[in-house]
């Protein structure tokens, strides 16, 4: 069974909430990313979402944009990311790994995704394809990789149904109108929308995009199956990169994990 599906069903049967941690591959460099991934999973992250750097990441706020830029300066591509994942899998063959990125880089590396050596990658989230479609619709076959689709507060009901049914990993509910790392969560709206998604989805619904504090994390976890933390982790990675001091990150993850448990 796909690691993501397995992990999510285990979390659900234990009546727990999933914690997804995001980082950008190659920020500050590939070796450090592998170390950070280990830190993520040992501190309480259930699922690691790996950002695939792109020159024009239109859904990202300034924090993650800059991380993409830093990684691109190191010539990170899907080729080096697959190599990195292979290395990581030597240490950890349990934690689900999700690639998150933009269509253009994925269609350029069809073969890599089709091969998916040793099923190292569990899921792919493409930010800029309509949620009712899959990578397959763009000629990228990936039998053992499942799909995560986004639903936002502006998604109309007819499409909520289509997208929810199309998601085979989990449904990613974008909690606000904005880019990654924005603020202004409207909890009432979020609750109503997630309830609507859950009526159609056969997979769990996780929430992400605007979580800035332990309180936000708790509030969102209460109305979903789990949460995704991105910008705040990426910012800590940026701040710790020079001296390679990342202890804070482990503590932060553990605190969030505790708050949502």
């Amino acid at each position: 069974m796909n690691r993501l599906t397995k992990k999510l069903s285990k979390i659900k049967s234990n009546d727990k909430k999933a914690l997804v941690g995001y980082l950008v591959a190659g920020d500050p460099d590939i070796e450090t990313t592998v170390e950070l991934m280990k830190l993520f999973s040992s501190s309480g992250v259930d699922i690691i979402e790996i950002g695939v750097p792109f020159t024009d990441p239109i859904a990202e706020g300034p924090i993650i944009q800059k991380a993409h830029d830093r990684a691109l300066k190191k010539d990170i591509s899907l080729v080096s990311i697959f190599q990195m994942i292979e290395k990581y899998r030597e240490f950890d063959d349990v934690t689900p790994l999700v690639l998150m990125g933009y269509l253009n880089t994925f269609i350029y590396h069809k073969k890599l995704i089709e091969n998916n050596q040793n099923n190292a990658v569990d899921s792919i989230l493409v930010v800029d394809i309509p949620g009712e479609l899959k990578l397959e619709d763009y000629g990228v076959k990936s039998n053992n990789i499942n799909t995560i689709s986004l639903i936002s507060p502006t998604t109309k009901k007819d499409r909520v149904k289509l997208i929810a049914e199309n998601s085979t990993g989990f449904v990613y509910y974008v909690t606000l109108r904005g880019v990654t790392g924005s603020s202004n969560l409207n909890i009432d709206e979020i609750k109503i929308n997630i309830e609507e998604i859950k009526r159609h989805a056969s997979v769990p619904t996780l929430a992400g995009f605007g979580i800035k504090s332990i309180e936000d994390a708790k509030l969102l976890a209460d109305c979903s199956d789990g949460i995704i933390i991105g910008s705040s982790l990426v910012q800590m990675i940026e701040q710790g990169s020079e001296k390679k001091e990342f202890d804070r990150i482990g503590k932060y993850i553990t605190e969030i994990k505790k708050a949502i448990s």
Binding site: T55, G61, Y102, T154, K156, R159, G178
Partner: protein, 400 residues
């Protein structure tokens, strides 16, 4: 605003190009825009208002002018100039903004955003927003803010706010990224006026249709001026809106060659240029699949052109379709050739063209050899060159 083929299809594709590749938050906004446009485009009141504004506020129709000395200079075929440079605000860009601001008004949007490269679209957007008293924000790459300072000041005079974008290459592509991010954030009350035939469906269709007034006028003016359809229309292509507006009504008129001129920057062979149709491959940028300048990892390449308005790694999807289908030809001229044409047209015709437009003129050097005396060639003079005076003076080593 009549249609000459059935493209794009209902999903926004011109053959394999186009589509809607955007974050989910924008999907509904695009659907809402498409529905509004489809409802209004054949509405008589709407059309009446659009053409009234084009006539009374923009000053259309723009003349088709016989370029006597340029014609003599090449000594083969008659050269005619479609004078979009004479439009209010100085370029073809106003045609599209006049149409889109009417859509915004109809949709009840209170806030207008736009990206701009050379600044002409920024000025044209700020102009129509001022006219309707709407809040207006213009995103412009930091490098373009530098080289198009005159237009930056014009935008400010018109009451709009200019946001200098220093991410990425700090040019048009990054301004578009930032405008899209603004739209994602303020989608409920904001209308995004895209300035070219680029971006996600329905923009390439809407911008084409509003700009098609240029080609529609050309059909009438060609009959009046030389009694037949032209042998060729030449237009510069960045995103491709002035070319698309001139080409579209001629798609089924096979005697007219349609020629788009891209920016070869330092030269096509150097790789430092902005000519995706000549030296790119299909890829996804800013919501559409189209020819794109990209590396072997699918990353978008930096571009180079003396002209800010052509300094863009992508191109409108309908141009990609026209290229593959063979209906239009796409060539490229480099910075030096464009600058030479800039001076030549100024001296021979008393018209200082925009650096973008100078690319179209530069191609006459090659093209006119293919025509005889009986031929009629139209150059779409997409804009005037006032905004480029500082750039050209600096290249010529002159301090103003």
């Amino acid at each position: 605003m009549e249609s000459n083929n059935n493209l794009p299809d209902k999903n926004g594709f011109f053959g394999e190009y186009g589509g809607k590749f955007v974050p989910e938050t924008l999907m509904y906004a695009l659907e809402e825009l498409e529905n509004t446009y489809n409802k209004l485009k054949d509405n008589n009141e709407f059309k009446k208002q659009f053409y009234k504004d084009l006539s009374e506020f923009v000053g259309r129709p723009s003349p088709l002018y016989f370029a006597e000395r340029l014609t003599k200079h090449y000594g083969s075929g008659s050269i005619w100039l479609k004078r979009e440079d004479l439009n209010h605000t100085g370029a073809h860009k106003i045609n599209n903004t006049i149409g889109q601001i009417l859509l915004a008004k109809y949709m009840g949007k209170k806030r207008i955003i736009a990206e701009t490269g050379a600044g002409q679209h920024g000025v044209a957007t700020a102009t129509v927003a001022a006219r309707l008293g709407l809040e207006c924000h213009i995103y412009m790459g930091a490098e373009d803010v530098q080289r198009q300072s005159l237009n930056v000041y014009r935008i400010k005079l018109l009451g709009a706010q200019v946001h200098s974008v220093d991410s990425g290459s700090a040019t048009l592509k990054d301004a578009l990224n930032e405008a899209l991010r603004d739209w994602v954030t303020n989608v409920d009350d904001t209308y995004y006026i895209i300035g070219s035939v680029t971006g996600p469906h329905p923009y390439p269709m809407i911008v084409r249709d509003f700009n098609s007034v240029v080609g529609e006028e050309l059909i009438e003016q060609s009959k009046e001026s030389f009694n037949t359809m032209p042998d060729a229309i030449v237009a510069c292509v960045g995103g491709g809106s002035n070319a698309m507006g001139a080409f579209y009504p001629f798609i089924n008129i096979n005697q007219t060659r349609l020629i788009g001129v891209e920016a070869a920057g330092n030269g096509l062979q150097t790789g430092e240029h902005a000519a995706p149709l000549n030296d790119g491959s299909p890829g996804v940028l800013h919501g559409a699949l189209s020819y794109l300048m990209q590396d072997e990892a699918g990353q978008v390449k930096a571009t180079k052109s003396v002209s800010a308005g052509l300094d863009y790694p992508g191109v409108g999807p309908e141009h990609s379709w026209l290229k593959d289908s063979g209906r239009a030809e796409y060539v490229a001229v480099d910075d030096d050739e464009a600058l030479e044409a800039f001076h030549q047209v100024s001296e021979l015709e008393g018209i200082i063209p925009a650096l973008e437009t100078a690319h179209a003129f530069a191609y006459l050097e090659t093209l006119m050899k293919e025509f005889d005396d009986q031929s009629n060639i139209i150059v779409n003079v997409s804009g005037r060159g006032d905004k480029d005076i500082n750039t050209v003076a600096e290249i010529d080593g002159i301090k103003i």
